[in-house]
């Protein structure tokens, strides 16, 4: 039994008011709120268990290291990774993808080599590849979604050519909620000797993810969307790809020996974790993952599917609202504009006055905005604690927008 009210009670911020109205937090696609367990873990770490990790031999250093390193196993379990050594900690998906761009792709891709990516990628899965285009002549090959926002795996597979070295696609669109069959893409790419990177920023929050079943080479997630602290994240990397990677950042923690003449590196995954990491953030992410796994990803997905169906029916019932994307099996993320009147900023301003938090803008996905022929949309993105009542508040506030901006 999924008791959403009990779950809401775990998130202190959800009890607050905004502009004199109960908060309806529908901006989970940007960042999620944190349960008490995460907040307490962060406090506990700083109050009782803090020191630098992997360094000293004193009590607190050992304790902090144990707590921090235990998260690697949690991430592995959360993602269905066979071994925790396949998990590299990052500050978030952006760092994870940049690590692959600098550490794996930059040394291997030559001018004319191709990277296949979809038009609905987040900028974090676009700009690191543009770097390679600018700096070494790598060609970006774009795959467009269908009119309903779906992205057929075959379309991505068909874009793979003889010069393609990497396919970089999202598992779930942060704008449209479209879920992509990344397992089919990874399988076909592997058969052609092409690597795959999956941006799991959104998908891992909303559905069970098993990287062993997906079979991609790289799968990146970010802690702050997973109800954990900002500045935490991880990327799963297949061992054979990890062996091919050179370090991205250099510094403490990733070396074996440093002399005036030479440097040798420690073994992966720490080889790719230079400097003092986000120790407490990572510990907090581990608690957040425990929280989600305790609820059960299947249960979270089922709850959000109910919210999605309810919101879909309500939003599509507003004939003056244009909802972008309606791919079958999509996540509970809705982007919309008001027919003819009212900029996304107008809508979000009015919604905010009603205590409804949504995102307005290009959602770090400008190529998708251009493809859809809009400059900005509003986005309502739901999470494990959202309710039908909040959908109703959103709809009621949208009706006011319709009246104000008509």
């Amino acid at each position: 039994m999924y008791d959403v009210n009990a779950i809401r009670a775990d998130f202190p911020i959800l009890a607050r008011e905004v502009n004199g109205k109960p908060l309806s937090y529908l901006d989970n696609g940007a960042s999620a709120q944190k349960p008490r367990a995460v907040i307490d873990a962060v406090t506990q770490a700083y109050e009782m268990e803090y020191a630098n990790v992997h360094r000293g031999l004193h009590f607190l250093s050992n304790l902090a290291t144990d707590k921090y390193e235990a998260v690697r196993g949690k991430v592995a379990r959360f993602l269905g990774a066979p071994r925790e050594e396949e998990i590299v900690f990052t500050s978030g998906t952006t760092e994870g993808i940049n690590l692959v761009s600098y550490g794996w792709a930059a040394p291997r891709l030559e001018a004319g080599d191709e990277i296949v990516l979809s038009v609905m990628e987040h900028h974090a899965n676009i700009v690191p590849w543009h770097f390679l285009r600018e700096r070494q002549g790598v060609v970006l090959k774009w795959v467009e979604p269908e009119a309903d926002g779906s992205l057929p795996a075959q379309k991505v597979i068909d874009a793979i050519g003889p010069r393609t070295k990497l396919v970089a696609v999202t598992h779930m669109s942060n704008v449209l909620g479209t879920v992509v069959d990344v397992a089919a893409i990874a399988k076909a790419a592997r058969e052609k000797g092409v690597a795959t990177l999956i941006d799991g920023s959104q998908a891992a929050v909303h559905m069970p993810v098993n990287v062993a079943e997906i079979g991609a080479d790289f799968y990146a997630i970010t802690g702050h969307k997973l109800y954990g602290p900002s500045g935490s994240g991880a990327i799963h990397i297949r061992p054979e790809r990890m062996a091919e990677m050179r370090p991205f950042m250099g510094g403490g923690d990733m070396i074996r020996e440093v002399s005036r003449e030479a440097v040798s590196y420690t073994d992966p995954p720490m080889k790719f974790e230079a400097g003092t990491p986000g120790i407490v953030q990572t510990i907090g992410m581990g608690v957040a993952l425990d929280y989600m796994m305790d609820l059960g990803m299947e249960n979270i997905a089922a709850h959000e599917a109910r919210i999605r169906d309810y919101a879909r029916e309500k939003l599509f019932g507003l004939n003056w609202l244009t909802v972008q994307g309606d791919a079958p099996g999509k996540g509970a993320i809705f982007s919309f504009t008001l027919e003819g009147a009212g900029h996304a900023h107008d809508i979000s301003t009015v919604l905010d006055k009603r205590g409804v938090a949504v995102r307005a803008g290009h959602h770090c996905a400008q190529p998708l905005m251009e493809h859809m022929g809009v400059t900005a949309t509003c986005r309502a993105s739901f999470g494990l604690y959202n309710t039908e009542e909040e959908v109703d508040r959103l709809v009621s506030a949208l009706e006011l927008c319709h009246e104000l901006f008509a």
């Binding site: 996304a344 006055k353 803008g361 104000l404």
Partner: protein, 142 residues
């Protein structure tokens, strides 16, 4: 006489109790403003730093501190467009010396609209006020 126009808005606002009616009025003020000719919506008149688009066309009549400032503006967002109308009422027709002395945030606070001038808002109003002040300063120094 621009300030009279602004004081009228303040008076109207005193009769409007809730934010919905106030926003409705702001939107109406924006709609009542003549739209900018398309030819004037160019990069030079666009105010940087706006997620919604804002254009501002200032005009200076006369010389020195007594020169009169006027401007026309437009935004593709209705509330921002209305706020431009409010700012135009606040500034337009005043001398450049007066314009420099205006505390826009304090004036908008009288309308309960000062939140739109906070640095976190990316609606461009802050950048717009900065542009108006810069134009006034430059004219006063000329």
């Amino acid at each position: 006489m621009a300030r009279d126009e602004f004081e009228e808005i303040v008076e109207t606002f005193e009769f409007l109790d809730d934010w919905e009616d106030r926003y409705r009025h702001v939107i109406e003020l924006g709609k009542a403003m003549a739209p900018l000719p398309e030819a004037q919506k160019v990069p030079a008149t666009k105010v940087e730093g706006c997620a919604s688009q804002v254009w501002l066309v200032p005009e200076i009549e006369g010389k020195g501190a007594d020169a009169v400032l006027r401007f026309e503006g437009e935004s593709d967002a209705m509330i921002v467009n209305g706020l431009i109308a409010v700012l135009r009422a606040l500034y337009s027709g005043s001398t450049v010396a007066e314009a420099q002395a205006v505390d826009a945030a304090a004036e908008l606070k009288r309308l309960g609209l000062d939140e739109h001038l906070s640095s976190q808002r990316s609606n461009g109003l802050r950048a717009m006020v900065a542009r108006v002040r810069a134009v006034a300063e430059k004219a006063a120094a000329a």
